[in-house]
């Protein structure tokens, strides 16, 4: 294997490039100094503590978190049946609908936000909160459809037929045979959607309003007028939260397989 040593070196370099900034954010967030620097001027948790005390950020976190969960659930409720129909039932116009539900992936978020604000939210007089929820849901539907459809594709069709021939209605067959076997796909869709919504900026940028702001938007705003390490500390916290979610999900899935 003549290629091995340099391949490993290159891989390490790529990983460093991908993860280095994350380490730097953690380092800068743990700084004891007044200003944002790396390497940090001594280590302390003071900025982590300080950022947790900020009301607006706490409130934005609550909004972002609940928004992410609710829109993810909405997208799953819409996306799972659609994915099932697309993969299994060959509905008329499937191609068009496939393109339709995956369209939000191609369109820039800024544009989505603008279009929704101008021609959906305002004409229909939709409040800020429902507008955010609906736009995030529409944005997440493609993710759920894609991921769930992919896991359906990897699941044999005949086990459903077997269940039906044993007397199950199509719905019972779906719930008792299909769902348990695409659970990993559904959890993956959930995590992906949750994180997408939670980190979403451009769409929310247009739709957020008084009293309702999401965490990343508050962070962006705060970056504009603070230069202390508090945002770095918050970023590090969020990164750890994301990692924890993925890790726990992985663990639960791994464990539940044997329960």
């Amino acid at each position: 294997m003549t290629m091995r040593p340099w391949a490993i070196a290159a891989l390490v370099a790529v990983l460093l490039f991908l993860l280095g900034p994350f380490l730097i954010i953690v380092g800068a967030g743990l700084s004891a100094g007044e200003t944002l620097t790396f390497p940090p001027e001594g280590l302390s948790l003071r900025w982590v503590w300080a950022v947790l005390q900020v009301d607006t950020l706490r409130h934005a976190f609550a909004i972002s978190f609940s928004l992410a969960v609710l829109s993810t659930l909405g997208a799953l409720a819409l996306g799972i049946p659609a994915a099932y129909a697309l993969e299994r039932l060959d509905p008329p116009g499937a191609g068009a609908i496939r393109a339709l539900v995956t369209a939000p992936l191609v369109v820039p978020g800024i544009v989505v936000g603008l279009a929704l604000l101008r021609y959906f939210v305002i004409p229909l007089g939709i409040g800020i909160r429902p507008a955010l929820l609906m736009s995030h849901t529409a944005l997440l539907v493609p993710y759920t459809v894609r991921v769930v459809a992919a896991s359906l594709r990897n699941l044999r069709v005949d086990i459903e037929e077997a269940a039906i021939l044993l007397g199950a209605s199509p719905l019972t067959a779906f719930v008792s045979v299909v769902m348990p076997n695409i659970r990993n796909g559904i959890v993956a869709a959930f995590i992906l959607s949750f994180i997408t919504s939670f980190n979403q900026v451009p769409v929310s940028l247009f739709l957020a309003g008084p009293g309702v702001s999401t965490l990343p938007i508050e962070m962006l705003a705060r970056i504009d007028f603070t230069y202390d390490p508090s945002i770095a500390a918050l970023s590090a916290l969020l990164a750890l939260l994301s990692i924890a979610i993925v890790f726990v999900a992985e663990r639960l899935l791994g464990l539940s397989r044997y329960v």
Binding site: V69, R118, R129, P210, D224
Partner: protein, 352 residues
């Protein structure tokens, strides 16, 4: 059996969790207490100071709940314009020319100054800054030059163009409130008084390679100084306290041509249903104790003449008749009338 119970428990837990999260998401703060809500849209800077000296005391007084949206002036204007038919906001603050733009677009209502007990305590510039009683000023700032005393000397607006500042100079972008003020001073330093700022625009264009960036938000600037990107910058004086905390030799220039003046104003949004409450907050904001407290925090320079500040604080703010006399306000109408032309020239010669 156990499996079934576990399934039911999971289901119940799930439903409760979703219900709770829906509550969190859809719940308007203060709603359940039946309290009145007043929605205000303000600048994001120093919200902690406002919370302490203005919002908390006001909420205690009126028994109402303040909902605060933050953002910069032009973004606020676009959002309010977009939501014109169904405004969420009751009271907003703007740079003076954005307030005029809002007024021209019919987004605001005139202010009944008779209801403002503190109105007579205001400086002249704050009383009717855009005409038609459509706005009241609440703070003022000089727009001038800050610089690293160890690197350069600045005694005139023309000193911005010295070679040593190549790649070290930061200017506000045209679309920020500082943009027009900078052009105004550059124009007058060049000896011109063209309202279309042709001379100033040409001057900036000729030196655009020296500019690190045209910043949009003022705090951005602090970063630029901190990271050594900037040695001199055109900015509002409200950034001075932040900059001086940097442990760098940073000073406020006193150019011979004087400084530009900027003011932020409060407006009432047309269609607001909480007019009386909005006027009450406005009056509170203009009161001597609140203005003094905000000034002592170095948050905003006072628009109220009766505010008395210790010299150490005063030296960091835009304070006192002498300083205010030095400042040249760009008439808001001039900004609105010429902005399209400025922008065209700016895009053509500078932004590229």
């Amino acid at each position: 059996m156990i499996a079934k119970l576990r399934r039911i428990a999971t289901l119940v837990f799930g439903v409760l969790a979703v219900a709770y999260l829906s509550y969190v998401f859809f719940h308007e703060p203060g709603e359940d207490a039946g309290a009145d809500r007043l929605v205000i849209s303000v600048f994001g800077v120093s919200q902690e100071s406002f919370r302490k000296h203005l919002y908390n005391p006001f909420e205690a007084e009126c028994g109402c709940k303040l909902v605060i949206e933050t953002g910069n002036s032009s973004e606020r204007l676009s959002k309010l314009a977009a939501r014109k038919t169904n405004p969420e906001v009751d009271l907003a603050v703007f740079a003076d020319f954005d307030a005029l733009s809002a007024a021209r677009r019919g987004l605001t209502d005139p202010i009944d100054v008779a209801k403002l007990g503190n109105y007579d305590r205001l400086y002249e510039f704050a009383r009717d800054p855009i005409g038609g009683r459509m706005a009241v000023g609440y703070t003022v700032y000089a727009a001038g030059i800050v610089y690293r005393t160890d690197k350069v000397r600045i005694e005139s607006w023309n000193d911005l163009w010295q070679p040593v500042l190549k790649d070290r100079m930061v200017l506000p972008t045209l679309t920020s409130s500082g943009g027009p003020m900078m052009l105004h001073m550059v124009e007058s330093a060049l000896g011109g008084n063209d309202p279309a700022f042709r001379g100033a625009l040409a001057k900036v264009a000729a030196n655009k390679e020296s500019v690190v960036t045209f910043y949009e938000r003022s705090a951005h600037l602090v970063q630029l100084f901190q990271q050594g990107e900037a040695w001199a910058a055109v900015t509002g004086r409200y950034n001075l306290p932040l900059l001086q905390r940097l442990d760098l030799p940073i000073a406020w220039a006193t150019p011979q041509e004087g400084d530009a003046g900027g003011r932020n104003v409060m407006v009432l949004i047309r269609g607001s249903r909480r007019r009386a409450l909005a006027l009450r907050l406005m009056d509170k904001w203009l009161s001597t104790p609140v203005q003094t407290a905000l000034a002592l925090d170095l948050t905003d320079s006072p628009a109220n003449r009766e505010v008395v500040l210790p010299p150490a604080t005063a030296s960091l703010l835009t304070y006192g008749p002498a300083m205010i006399q030095r400042m040249k306000f760009v008439p808001p109408a001039q900004v609105l009338d010429h902005r399209a032309a400025w922008t065209a020239a700016w895009n053509e010669t500078i932004a590229r």
